[in-house]
């Protein structure tokens, strides 16, 4: 009897504490269905009438354009980052020369260094890529490469070199070796990397704020920020916008929880 009681206490306390997380999320979800007046109270009372048209109003305000931008930019960044990071990891880990180790150190310093906003803009202007989505993708990729390369490299180190050697004896090398032998073995870490990169790029604000200068290229978080500025007293619409932005990430979290958590924590656990 005493044992079960002792076991139960932490469980009950943990559930009580989880209110701190559930309450705000519930507040956002419920507010998104309220009328403007009810929404301004920012509480978790149920709406008297469910106003599903809040979502319709939000969608009519240029939602699909920003959604399209977000999807395009996120997809391109995810694929480009994974491709770059896996090739960098492959060569750096397998060559293992002094130069490679120094380059790896420099790459990991990229996690610490802050985003050099104006110099980046200047460089993009020189290449006439400033204000374009292509420029945003290239910069985002460069900024996401350090973490992604780090998790891929630490995974690569656990793949025995003997596998490479067997293939090399059969005459494969370079890209063929990567495609046939390494790439299939890397799949678990690449999947985790894709999921993490999706989340970062989808949610990103700082880089797009600096690099996108016209509203028709804005990604979802930017258009929501702008929307909040215009309709700050319409909490119902703001909350509906937040819910729409979060749905893809939450779906991914529900269906690929293991991959997402694995990808996010492997940088800290294996380092």
């Amino acid at each position: 009897m005493k044992r079960t009681g002792k076991k139960l206490i932490p469980e009950v306390v943990l559930w009580l504490l989880s209110i701190f997380i559930i309450y705000p999320l519930l507040m956002i979800l419920l507010t998104s269905f309220k009328s403007k007046g009810e929404a301004s109270y920012l509480n978790i009372n149920l709406p008297t009438i469910y106003h599903f048209e809040n979502y319709k109003k939000v969608i009519e305000k240029g939602f699909f354009r920003s959604l399209g931008n977000s999807i395009m930019v996120t997809a391109a960044c995810m694929l480009l980052t994974i491709a770059c990071a896996s090739l960098l990891g492959f060569i750096i880990v397998r060559r293992d020369t002094r130069g490679c180790r120094i380059f790896y150190r420099i790459i990991t310093l990229g996690i610490i260094a802050p985003f050099a906003a104006l110099p980046t803009i200047r460089i993009l202007k020189i290449m006439s890529l400033y204000g374009t989505r292509v420029g945003l993708c290239l910069v985002t990729t460069a900024l996401n490469i350090p973490y992604t390369t780090m998790i891929i490299s630490s995974y690569l180190k656990s793949i025995p070199r003997e596998l490479d050697e067997a293939a090399v004896i059969d005459g494969t090398s370079g890209m063929t070796l990567f495609r046939r032998i390494i790439f299939p073995l890397l799949k678990p870490v690449l999947a985790a990397g894709l999921v993490v990169n999706f989340m970062w790029t989808w949610n990103a604000v700082e880089v797009p704020v600096y690099l996108l200068n016209s509203s028709y290229k804005w990604t979802l978080p930017l258009s929501i920020y702008n929307f909040v500025g215009q309709y700050s007293s319409y909490w119902n619409l703001v909350c509906a916008d937040i819910v729409l932005l979060s749905i893809p990430v939450i779906l991914l979290y529900v269906f690929c929880q293991k991959l997402m958590i694995g990808g996010m924590i492997s940088g800290a656990v294996k380092a």
Binding site: L17, I22, F115
Partner: protein
């Protein structure tokens, strides 16, 4: 032989992307800090030496932004690490709703910063916000959270803690679960108490992992941009500005070279702090294992 099999040519394009869009701007790019670049002066730049750096360093706003960034980084790191350790310790026991609880606690870590920012703007709102509601319920008075420096900074730190505790829990938890169970059995046979097991076995073994998480927390805390932008936009005045938002503020005011100078100072500070932390924590690690 190895050079032939793993030809450097394979990583040329990836390396080029990283060098051009990350290394070059954050090294050579800072050269613009020493020019007279501004909104009204974009061509034929001239070098004016250390003038911008000196001007930026003696500016009150930089000192405010720097202290705020330090608060955002260390305030959050201390609380998140302690909370992560405590909650992970309890979550590590076997009970039925463990998976559900973990899912809930990790949820905030996946949400966009604009979502977290707006949630906390709502919670700390003066008239109808939940926090003031609770304060009034307890017989206190409502606080105008975003009207002053320290209240604004505290509200932002609360949002940071809410967003990153789940991540700390999971990291600590996964480190705890990687401890082989025979360690605990051996300790039990030797008659160790629960507290001894925690301080003598668990803590030293998970320390390296927690340490990495502390570095991440400090670095991301110092780099905090989004939450400040969305919750206070640096206001009132520039009282809650962080280093990151100060750069944007300078740029919007057309003072481009000054913005680059702030960026350069910021980057040097980040480098020094993370190197110092690594130095001292490796010492602490040595002490813990002896």
């Amino acid at each position: 032989m190895r050079n032939k099999i793993y030809s450097v040519r394979i990583m040329w394009i990836p390396a080029l992307i990283f060098i051009v869009f990350s290394i070059v701007p954050s090294t050579v790019g800072y050269i613009y800090a020493f020019t007279n670049w501004s909104a009204s002066h974009t061509e034929h730049l001239k070098f004016i030496g250390l003038k911008n750096i000196i001007q930026v360093l003696s500016d009150d706003r930089l000192i405010t932004a720097f202290t705020n960034s330090v608060l955002y980084a260390f305030g959050k790191t201390v609380i998140v690490t302690v909370l992560g350790l405590l909650l992970a310790y309890f979550l590590n026991r076997k009970f039925r709703s463990q998976t559900a609880l973990r899912t809930i606690y990790f949820m905030p870590s996946i949400l966009a910063s604009i979502v977290v920012g707006l949630i906390f703007s709502a919670l700390f709102q003066t008239r109808h916000g939940t926090i003031n509601g609770v304060l009034r319920l307890l017989g206190g008075k409502g606080v105008d959270w975003f009207g002053g420096r320290w209240t604004g900074v505290s509200a932002i730190i609360c949002a940071e803690i809410w967003a990153s505790t789940g991540y700390a829990i999971l990291i600590t938890l996964s480190a705890m679960q990687s401890i082989p169970s025979d360690y605990f059995e051996a300790a039990l046979i030797d008659g160790a108490r629960e507290r001894q097991v925690f301080t003598k076995i668990v803590l030293p073994l998970i320390f390296p992992t927690i340490n990495v998480n502390i570095v991440f927390n400090i670095v991301y805390g110092l780099k905090l941009f989004d939450l400040v932008k969305f919750m206070t936009d640096g206001g009132p005045g520039f009282a809650t500005e962080s280093m990151g938002t100060l750069i944007l503020r300078e740029m919007s005011a057309g003072r481009f070279a000054q913005a680059v100078s702030v960026n350069l100072v910021f980057s040097v500070i980040l480098l020094i702090i993370s190197l110092l932390y690594q130095h001292f924590s490796s010492r602490a690690e040595d002490a813990l294992y002896k």
